[in-house]
């Protein structure tokens, strides 16, 4: 089959690789009909995710049709149309039982690596380095889905791929980011990063009762999308000081909740941002927490900080004094996608949201390397790329 393989920083290629096969009893094989490039794939593309190996198949936002099932699968059949959560979860451990699916105890075959780095291993992820399991990803014609009996959700007729594809990651991720804000009536929520996850965080914050949502970015078309499609107020941090603007917009109080939808490769304008770019470039720092610092300083006293952007390692100069002395509540983590699949599918079916509004580019899988290039460089107003195998 054809698959998008990582061969090093800024080097991804569509290679011909063997077809996946059933390995374990709870596996299924999916023929992929749609698969997207995620902002977090860019961290891999840029070479900032450790334990990648040349030849690894990328991609963790994919859906398709079941073509083969393992001997222990009784709830899926050939031909079922399914979406696949990007987190791989067993469904039977302490964490899965408590809806903490991204913390699954059992899915990571390389748990020892994660234990060395993090103390304990989170769930494995598709196509996201050997630290997170080394599972082949879904930017391919076919993928093997472990624990498919709990991981694959059937899609009812009448919904297009574009409408449901983002249930695999970015819609639940934005939704969980908003949920982690513990929004109360009258709350103002600020969202750093108006990429696809930021867009869904804005929409979700409104769904969960926010009075006002403010989006912060520097890319005009992303700010425009936040304003026009998601009803956000917007701040371009290259034009104004985001911290000051937020204070003015919130009567001096600061936002009740702040969402970091940026993560480890933040851009910024201040000296701290330059410091991080240099340190990260020479590998003295794993992550560039520019957005996170702003979030902490901007949040109102007693407010919530919700982190949806990915962090991987060790961060410098986090204003812990501000966090402590303002009594902030932090919530974060990889998304417990399985928990959100059905409730969010219902919101799509009810017509509350059509997630396809973030899509700016549809490309055949063959052109995936071009997709990475324009997504990374934000060329051609690129916000979200959907790839079509066989397209």
């Amino acid at each position: 089959m054809k698959a998008l393989c990582w061969h090093g920083a800024n080097d991804v290629r569509v290679d011909t690789v063997p077809d996946p096969k059933i390995i374990n009893p709870r596996d299924a094989i999916i023929k992929i009909t749609s698969t997207a490039i995620c902002g977090s794939d860019l961290h891999i593309y840029d070479g900032y995710i450790p334990t990648m190996q040349s030849g690894d198949i990328l991609g963790h936002e994919f859906m398709g049709e079941v073509v083969e099932v393992g001997s222990a699968i009784n709830n899926l059949k050939i031909g079922d149309r399914v979406v696949i959560p990007f987190t791989i979860s067993c469904g039977s451990c302490f964490f899965c039982n408590r809806d903490l699916w991204s913390l699954c105890d059992n899915s990571n075959p390389n748990a020892w690596m994660a234990e060395k780095m993090y103390g304990h291993s989170p769930a494995a992820l598709f196509g996201y380095s050997h630290l997170f399991g080394g599972y082949a990803g879904g930017q391919a014609e076919y993928a093997r889905v472990p624990f498919a009996d709990v991981g694959a959700m059937k899609i009812p007729d009448g919904l297009t791929d574009d409408q449901v594809l983002f249930l695999t990651d970015i819609f639940p991720t934005g939704y969980m980011a908003a949920e982690n804000c513990d929004i109360e009536p009258g709350d103002i929520v600020a969202v750093w990063g108006c990429g696809p996850v930021g867009q869904f965080a804005i929409k979700s914050a409104y769904m969960l009762g926010a009075e006002r949502v403010i989006g912060i970015d520097r890319i005009p078309e992303r700010l425009q999308m936040a304003k026009e499609k998601c009803n956000a107020e917007i701040i371009n941090y290259e034009e104004v000081d985001a911290g000051e603007a937020l204070k003015e917009m919130t009567g001096g109080r600061g936002p009740d909740a702040c969402i970091d939808a940026v993560g480890m490769e933040a851009h910024g304008t201040g000296p701290d941002s330059f410091y991080d770019q240099v340190k990260q470039a020479v590998r003295l720092e794993t992550d560039r927490p520019t957005a996170l610092r702003q979030v902490i300083v901007a949040a109102r006293k007693g407010g919530h900080v919700s982190i949806a952007g990915v962090y991987g390692g060790f961060l410098d100069k986090i204003p812990m004094g501000a966090a402590f002395n303002k009594g902030l509540t932090f919530k974060m983590g990889q998304t417990h996608v399985h928990k959100y699949l059905r409730p969010l599918l219902e919101r799509i079916q009810n017509g509350e949201i059509d997630p396809s509004f973030v899509i700016t580019h549809r490309l055949p899988l063959q052109e995936a390397p071009h997709g990475y290039e324009i997504f990374k460089k934000k060329k051609d107003s690129c916000i979200k790329v959907v790839l079509k195998p066989g397209g």
Binding site: M1, A3, C5, H7, R13, D15, V17, P18, D19, P20, K21, I23, N24, P25, R26, Q53, S54, G55, D56, I57, A72, I88, C90, G91, S92, C93, F94, N97, D105, N106, S107, N108, P109, A111, W112, A124, G133, G134, Y135, A136, A140, R144, P146, F147
Partner: protein, 234 residues
Amino acid sequence: MESSDITNPQDQQSQSGSSNLSDTERWGSLIGGGALVLMGLRQGSLRGALTAIAGGGLIYHGATAQSSIQEKVGMNQSIKVEKTVTINKSPEELYRFWHNFENLPTFMKHLKYVRVINQTRSHWIANAPMGSSVEWDADIVNDQENKLIAWTSVEGADVDNSGFVRFTPTASGRGTEVKVVIEYNPPGGAVGSAIAKLFGEEPEQQAGDDLRRFKQLMETGEIPTTEGQPSGRK
């Protein structure tokens, strides 16, 4: 691994009088349910403790005497490992699966094959360096239903070893804490050191990985793997 596990026989002899009792107590507490860890247990083999406890605690002195003879003839590369994991299953289910030693190779990577001979005795074959293997017979020396299984190799083993597994339900219904303690005493000489290397290379991680596979198998019915999946590696 504690550096003190590899001790000079002279040191051991000079200390044996004073530390025997406390070590027996500590081993007893470990096997009996205490939270004690191996750290600092300079003295006394697991085999000795297991035999002592099986026999009521009185023959422990004899067991240590035997182990110090082994040490004198160069059999002093004792490797002790202790690991604990919490499994979301009842002690009954876990005990039942483990008690059939023929199941052990499904999650203990270095084991090739185990055959149960009778109620207490089993024959074990483990992978050794350069495609060879080592074999031994083991006896269950302590068997407490749904709580504990302890075993030791019998005379003539290629690798003298012993171990126990303990199943303790957690207070709040969060499953069962499974503790495994294993000790190997590889023979001296070149073969011995090759075997010591096999069992001794990051033994904590090896035991931890075995125990994790046990957990995965019991909780999910399979052992997650990526072996055999496609990649773009030539």
